[in-house]
């Protein structure tokens, strides 16, 4: 067992931590949020220059050649900074679909553009009725000569408003909730038939509801084999969960630090409120929850690309459950221990809480994953 980062990973961590510390104060973030797209293009360029936008891509596609641990490092730092740029949507989700399931041509055409910051992407998978069932897809893809025609509606597509290209999940065959019969399609966001309605989200970024009407997709823009995308869809969601877990750890550790600092400085009844044992113990329980979450984020990171799909699915469900539980506790207590200032937009701690609340609804909530894990037989086996 080895919890140490390699030399390269340590350097990555140092540079991304420094970037967030220097460029993502609460005030700076507020300013980025006011820009047209709700984030900062200059920073995006900087991420590209630092190699962050290509962290999980192979070197031959202009990538950094990292794995899940490198993504963990970036996401944790971004969680601490509540980073607004479309990293998760572009690099982890859509980029992940192409990295893990794309053809040689697709990787060559797309990954370098993600890496250099010139291409933004989003992952359009969820639908109004689908809740957290990744296989519940009504959008259809019908054969049209050599290519395909897509019709359907996708909902709450994070950063779907600014994406240049979308990865769309659509049904080629089968019933509404069949795992068989799904396909992943690369769709130009400006293609005829694509319309987007965008809005701000609770966690300070933007999302879009996207309607696709008779959208034509060339044969070369199908990821993998149309109708056989289920294993890839699962892989994307597992990388997503690992990334979200690390982001949540970053957000939780920030809430912990901010709260402890506040307990030391806020005075009531002539003393620092941190001198009240009731609050000390609560802060300790927050730390326990954070460390439990951190451990499972590490476990999730380790298992995110495990070749054993069954074990991987269980591990990722377990990760999401623990993160959901921990983040809810840490977030609620962080606010409570601040008193009134915790529930205002003017103070940073509430923004972390809003982010982790939205995270709970991304790629399945605690209940969804607890049920999935229970159905799969739980985690602890006779072998330990």
């Amino acid at each position: 067992m080895d919890f140490d980062l390699s030399e390269e990973q340590r350097m990555l961590k140092e540079s991304v931590d420094r970037l967030v510390a220097e460029r993502y104060s609460f005030e700076q973030r507020k300013a980025y949020g006011k820009e047209a797209e709700g984030w900062n293009r200059g920073l995006w360029k900087q991420y590209a220059d630092m190699g962050l936008l290509s962290v999980p891509f192979e070197e031959k596609y202009g990538g950094f050649g990292g794995g899940a641990v490198e993504t963990m490092i970036v996401m944790e730092a971004f969680g601490r900074g509540l980073v607004l740029e479309p990293y998760f949507a572009t690099v982890v989700l859509a980029g992940g679909a192409i990295r893990m399931g794309g053809s040689e041509e697709q990787k060559k055409a797309i990954l370098p553009k993600i890496a250099d910051g010139s291409l933004l992407m989003a992952y359009a998978y969820a639908e109004r009725q689908s809740r957290y069932d990744l296989a519940d897809v009504l959008a259809t893809a019908k054969k049209d000569g050599a290519g395909w025609v897509i019709d359907g509606e996708k909902t709450v597509v994070i950063h779907g408003d600014c994406a240049d290209k979308l990865v769309v999940v659509a049904r080629v065959s089968g019933g509404q909730r069949d795992k068989d019969g799904l396909g992943l399609f690369i769709v130009d966001a400006k293609a005829a038939g694509v319309s987007r309605r965008s809005y701000p989200t609770q966690d300070g970024v933007r999302g879009a509801d996207i309607t696709l009407k008779g959208v034509k997709v060339a044969a070369g823009d199908v990821i993998g084999e149309a109708g056989k995308a289920w294993p890839l869809i699962e892989c994307v969601s597992h990388s997503a969960i690992a990334a979200l877990a690390s982001e949540a750890v970053g957000a939780m550790s920030a809430m912990q630090d901010i709260t402890v600092e506040y307990l030391k400085t806020r005075q009531q009844f002539g003393v620092a409120i941190g001198s009240f044992q009731a609050l000390q113990h609560r802060a300790v329980d927050m730390l326990v929850a954070l460390e439990q979450g951190r451990s499972m984020a590490m476990y999730g990171t380790m298992m995110a690309e495990d070749p054993n799909a069954e074990e991987r699915a269980k591990a990722m469900a377990a990760t999401k459950v623990q993160i959901g539980k921990s983040a809810k506790y840490v977030g609620q207590q962080a606010i409570q221990l601040h008193g009134g200032i915790g529930v205002t937009m003017e103070y940073k701690v509430g923004h972390y809480f809003m982010r982790t609340t939205v995270m709970e609804t991304q790629f399945g909530d605690t209940d969804h994953h607890l049920a999935a894990l229970a159905r799969a037989g739980g985690l602890v086996s006779a072998a330990g």
């Binding site: 069932d133 909902t155 994070i158 009531q268 009240f276 009731a278 509430g350 609340t357 939205v358 909530d365």
Partner: protein, 398 residues
């Protein structure tokens, strides 16, 4: 022992429910069902309907418009109101300043203010908390100095709900800085359009300016707007804070939210079946319902004691109601978030506060807004930690 309502109480409940069914304006009911925030005009309109019926201020002394209902009936009324669901009458008016003036105001103040408070022609806000005086309210610093027939007020209040909409503030100010902190506080009624007052909104996590910062720069307040005696303000404030016992648990509000959650869950599909039929979900809901039932009965027990003591007891058991009540109100907002799933991600402040049509399903888009805002339920009015301290000391003798 009989925990059931009497026939008379049941008949009363039916009468009250019928009133809410027929008299609550449909547009307001709709907003409440959706979890939207009622605006000033709506709260105003509803209060005037209640007042015409004679039910605007049921808990007040009958000579000032109270109904003379006992504690059980007041409880029945409040629960029916939450279940309607109707907006709560402006608490600063009905539960706070009104009873204080009835108990401690001069005849002139009562005549001048009480009818307008009941009919909401005069809108009050509560200026107690300050940046440095939250849980430790008695350490407040806003200063008032006597100058002829006026007090001159300087300082700052924080968290003042509806200050930007209010006509008056009831305000605690320091008039004697040289005595024990509770002894030098005076209770003033300050007109909000007096020169020298400025109000800055403080937006809460739901995106709504629920609170404000209020600054006083040489604000002149006539001495006749002092409540009771100079330097006795703390006693009146304590009376006020102990006054809201019957409604504090808000059992009806939590029930109303759980009803909503169940209705909505019928229209959400999980594993091919309605969420409302999902056994895990039902168990979670049932577990909250058990606690809520227990709280309802605890609430009735406290109410019964209030009734027997003719309303004079300052019962520390009210702190149990505040702790459990706020926890269950918050639990119900969490269930609504859970039911609404991914749709909570959209921030729809325009719909929450006004008439903008929602992008997401109207029943889902307010869930996260409300979850965020109601984290404050365990913070204001004496935080739950402070309530624990009260119980430890006053009930357990620790």
């Amino acid at each position: 022992m009989d925990l059931r309502y009497t026939d008379e109480e049941l008949a009363f409940r039916e009468e009250v429910r019928e009133f809410f069914r027929t008299e609550l304006p449909e547009d307001i009911r709709r907003k409440m069902i959706n979890g939207q925030v009622p605006v000033k005009e709506e709260i105003n309109r509803w209060q005037k309907i209640l007042n015409r019926k004679g039910w605007a201020v049921p808990g007040w002394a009958p000579e000032w418009g109270g109904t003379g209902w006992d504690a059980v009936k007041l409880h029945i009324f409040k629960e029916a109101m939450h279940l309607a669901p109707a907006p709560e009458p402006l608490t600063y008016n009905v539960n706070m300043i009104g009873p204080v003036l009835i108990a401690f105001g001069t005849e002139e103040q009562k005549k001048c203010f009480l009818p307008g408070i009941a009919n909401l022609d005069i809108w009050f806000c509560q200026g107690f908390s300050e940046p440095g005086a939250g849980s430790d309210l008695a350490s407040l610093k806003t200063r008032a100095v006597r100058d002829g027939n006026d007090y001159v007020v300087n300082g700052q209040k924080l968290w003042t709900g509806t200050a930007h909409e209010a006509d008056y503030m009831f305000c605690l100010v320091r008039t004697d800085p040289d005595v024990k902190k509770q002894k030098g506080i005076t209770y003033l009624l300050i007109k909000m359009d007096t020169p020298g007052i400025s109000v800055r909104p403080v937006v809460t996590l739901d995106g709504v300016p629920h609170t404000n910062e209020v600054f006083f720069d040489n604000v002149r307040v006539p001495v006749k707007n002092r409540v009771g005696e100079e330097n006795k303000g703390w006693d009146y404030a304590k009376y006020l804070l102990g006054n809201e016992r019957i409604g504090i648990a808000r059992v009806g509000l939590s029930k109303s939210r759980l009803n909503r959650a169940r209705e909505r869950a019928a229209n959400v599909t999980v594993d091919g079946k309605p969420l409302a039929e999902n056994s895990r979900f039902r168990e979670r809901l049932a577990a909250i319902e058990v606690e809520l039932k227990a709280l309802e009965i605890t609430n009735m027990r406290v109410i019964d004691e209030v009734k027997r003591s003719a309303g004079n007891a300052q019962d520390p058991k009210a702190s149990i109601l505040k702790i459990k009540g706020s926890e269950l109100q918050q639990a119900a907002t969490e269930v609504l978030v859970e039911v609404s799933g991914r749709d909570v991600a959209r921030s729809e402040t325009g719909f929450l506060m006004g008439d903008e049509p929602p992008i997401g399903p109207d029943w889902a888009v307010t869930a996260a807004h409300n979850y965020f805002y109601h984290r404050a339920d365990s913070i204001y009015g004496g935080s739950n930690e402070i309530q624990h301290n009260i119980i430890a000391k006053a009930i357990l003798g620790l």
